[in-house]
């Protein structure tokens, strides 16, 4: 075996490291580690932090908007219920008022008619009284004249004739009231 083959065989042992390669790897890796530690990791972590903050902020904002919308909905529902109650109340009131007005009008009409009737009664009574009075006078006069003419004597004595007439009328009255009570 010549020298070159021996050298090749020795160099071929793959478990024996080349120290220069170890050195270059260590230095290269140290540079990479420095760059990653100093620039890459902080930048990525900051991006994540900002992103998660932005997402959380967005979620919070959406939750607030949702809560606001819910509150508004509740408010509208409440207002709607209030308005319905109010409308019902007004309707009830109007109905009651109408009924009251109707009752009042009925009462008024009844009292008015009663009043008119009463008045009519009073008037009729007065007229009847007047008529009775005038009749009494006239009938008395006429009857006296008639009787005077019939008996042929003057019954000029007013006092007597008046007594006669009164008695006659009283008889008439008693007869009448007896007839009315029958």
């Amino acid at each position: 075996m010549n020298e070159a083959v021996i050298l090749a065989a020795e160099g071929a042992n793959p478990l024996v490291p080349n120290w220069w390669e170890i050195l270059v790897t260590v230095l290269g890796f140290a540079v990479l580690l420095f760059i990653v530690t100093k620039f890459v990791v902080p930048a990525f972590e900051k991006t994540y932090e900002e992103r998660s903050l932005a997402i959380e902020g967005g979620i919070a904002k959406a939750e607030a908007a949702q809560a606001e919308a819910n509150a508004a909905l509740e408010e509208y529902k409440k207002q709607l219920v209030d308005a319905r109650t109010e409308a019902n109340r007004i309707r009830e009131e109007a109905r009651a008022e109408g009924a009251q007005i109707l009752a009042e009008l009925k009462e008024k009409a009844a009292s008015e008619s009663a009043r008119i009737t009463e008045q009519a009664h009073v008037q009729i009574e007065a007229e009847r009284t007047a008529a009775v009075a005038s009749l009494r006078n006239e009938v008395g006069t006429l009857a006296t004249e008639l009787a005077g003419k019939v008996v042929g004597e003057s019954l000029a004595d007013d006092e007597r004739s008046a007594r006669v007439v009164d008695r006659f009328l009283a008889d008439l009255d008693s007869q009448q009231s007896a007839g009315a009570s029958n």
Binding site: P17, W20, I22, L33, F39, V41, F44, T47, A54
Partner: protein
């Protein structure tokens, strides 16, 4: 050491020459064409390129800080969030995870991009398939969780870490030995080698499929070109699968880092 070196290629010009691990160790750039391991090479250039790309992407995506992110900002935020919440917050806990977000994010993007370099045409080298890079990252995590443990528990952290509660007295010695080996010796090794080995193996398989297809397709005899088409198709399948593995390993590495951190800062073992 296990003799992992593949047999040296034969000198027969007729036969197929399988790619070896040395094909991942290209001659250096500075000084140009020097032997691998004697200068500044492609792997180191890609590591620096990944740092520049990741820094540009993360700074540009994070500095816009729009409330409603565009596609670019969204891509940055989505991947950042994935590490921050699915790995950091879920594993370390809501209370304590914040200081560790930069470490987890840096580790995830660093490993992801360096793994994916293996699947990008012309770059075509997963820088994590060079064990130095995997050692460096796992070593960084190893030192970090030990320091965190000491800061949380004081020097008694080592007792907390290796003496589980509720073990019978008779078993305490073997259990402590097992814990010391598994926590302080095996853990950093598996953490680094898992990443390195998957990347190396995946890349070797694709390299093998590609060179095998190239060899078979240029043969003139019989069924060789047909086999070449099959190996090509298999290579494309492995290429897609490798992209998945590259993403998965970045995730696994950060996941384990979070688990280790959580173990160091939590109260009991």
């Amino acid at each position: 050491m296990i003799p992992l070196a593949l047999p040296a290629a034969t000198n027969e010009s007729e036969g197929f020459i399988a790619p070896t691990i040395d094909d991942l160790h290209l001659p250096e750039i500075l000084p140009w064409g020097a032997h691998y391991g004697e200068g500044f090479g492609k792997q180191m250039l890609l590591v620096l390129l990944s740092v520049a790309l990741i820094s540009w992407f993360l700074v540009a995506a994070s500095r816009r800080r729009q409330m409603v992110p565009g596609k670019f900002q969204f891509l940055g935020e989505y991947s950042y969030n994935f590490v921050r919440n699915s790995v950091g917050k879920d594993l370390i806990g809501e209370k304590d995870f914040r200081p560790f977000v930069p470490v987890l994010v840096s580790l995830f993007f660093f490993i992801l991009v360096n793994n994916l370099f293996g699947s990008i045409p012309f770059l075509q080298l997963p820088t994590t398939s060079h064990v130095g890079t995997a050692y460096a990252l796992a070593g960084f995590v190893y030192i970090m969780w030990i320091v965190l443990g000491i800061r949380t528990h004081g020097i008694g952290y080592f007792k907390v870490a290796v003496v589980p509660s509720g073990v019978p007295k008779a078993f305490i010695v073997p259990v402590v030995i097992i814990e010391i080996v598994s926590t302080f010796l095996v853990r950093p090794l598996t953490h680094s080698l898992r990443l390195f080995a998957t990347m190396l193996a995946g890349h070797m398989i694709i390299a093998l499929a590609a060179s095998g297809s190239a060899f078979l397709l240029t043969q003139t005899s019989g069924a060789m070109p047909v086999l070449g088409v099959l190996t090509m198709a298999g290579g494309v399948g492995m290429y897609l699968f490798e992209i998945f593995i590259q993403v998965l390993q970045a995730y696994v590495f950060v996941l384990l880092t979070a688990v280790y951190i959580q173990g160091s800062i939590s109260e009991a073992h």
